[in-house]
Homo-oligomer: 212 residues x 2
């Protein structure tokens, strides 16, 4: 095989490992399967990494950190809070639908980290929650609403809902059901803000939303 800088080799192996984990599950992501996917030999693997565990660490760090659980829609103006939440959740579900195997691998990685790398799991989860808090703060700002429950708590709930809906879709693969659940979730979470109306789809041209 061609000579390659060890860092390039490492990256290639991590990407190969992610593909294997997505298609066959983490428990079948063996060193042999990874090098086969990457077109390398076993010895090359152990030249690049001390051990399989070391690669798994990098996999969790690089790949879970790249995940962004919630994304706000681009356009924030002229939408109600419920609409923003619906679109945000819907965007995440779209991402899930686009590559379910990958997201399932993420779930497996999280669970593996939970069992054997607890500090990494904690840090990762805190990161998701901070990101959710930022999105929620922006959303309330742009709709002139105010969270009547502490923002970190709402953020926790949003992350929990996202995780739960992910599992729901992975199990059932039911697009209509998940869309209903997403809308209900958005409406429910929006009810934790005041005073603007949480809801109705047909919103008239209300500049600056409801009140202050």
């Amino acid at each position: 095989m061609a000579r390659m800088p060890v860092e390039v080799r490492r990256t290639a192996l991590i990407e190969a490992a992610l593909r294997v984990a997505a298609s066959r599950g983490l428990h079948e992501t063996t060193t042999r399967a990874i090098v086969a996917e990457a077109g390398m030999t076993l010895a090359s693997f152990h030249y690049a990494f001390e051990s399989r565990d070391e690669l798994i660490d990098r996999l969790i760090l690089d790949v879970l950190a790249g995940e962004e659980k919630t994304v706000l829609p681009d356009e924030l103006e002229g939408r109600t809070l419920t609409e923003l939440l619906t679109d945000g959740l819907h965007g995440y579900i779209e991402h899930l639908r686009a590559d379910p195997a990958r997201e399932q691998a993420m779930l497996e990685l999280t669970q593996y980290a939970l069992r054997t790398r607890l500090p990494m799991a904690k840090e990762q989860y805190a990161q998701y929650t901070r990101l959710a808090a930022v999105s929620l703060a922006l959303a309330s700002q742009h709709t002139g609403t105010r969270w009547i429950v502490p923002l970190p708590t709402v953020a926790q709930l949003l992350v929990a809902v996202t995780d739960g809906l992910t599992l729901n879709w992975l199990v059932n693969r039911d697009d209509e059901a998940i869309d209903s659940a997403v809308r209900a979730a958005a409406r429910a979470i929006a009810a934790l803000a005041s005073p603007a109306s949480p809801a109705s789809p047909a919103s008239p041209a209300s500049p600056a939303g409801a009140s202050h």
Copy 2:
């Protein structure tokens, strides 16, 4: 070893397997580890079960089926919908707190089923959702409220929230944070019902909130 009816042996092995899965994770729940935990020999295992896969099947069936994700509090009278939901979720979290390792094993079993026994995972999930729907119907009945979103959708959301909060607590082990999140979740879900006020402990007679 003492002779035992094969069904008794099967049960003992399944219980041993659950203990191993809880303490060391599903991927370390090998036939050898199981029989060591049960105080048997390898040969006895294969006398009771055709294969390890067969035991895992039974484990999923017997043990996931025994799970009841949401339980209503005993006393339903004189409580608001939010209170009922809070107590129900809180009861589940108590159950989780009492035996986190077991619940983590459940999560691993679910994920394993998702990867290799999809129909079983689907059926199990549907069972949880039906149970949630029954609880939600009872709760709205007893509080004189009505779900303004289809009941199955609310049930889906409740299951998703339960799953998400489970993961949250397993990662953070933060009792105060989870209690806040539980209360917020209850309040949010209660907002999907009308007309009774979804929320504040001191609830005035506010007819039909913001509605839609």
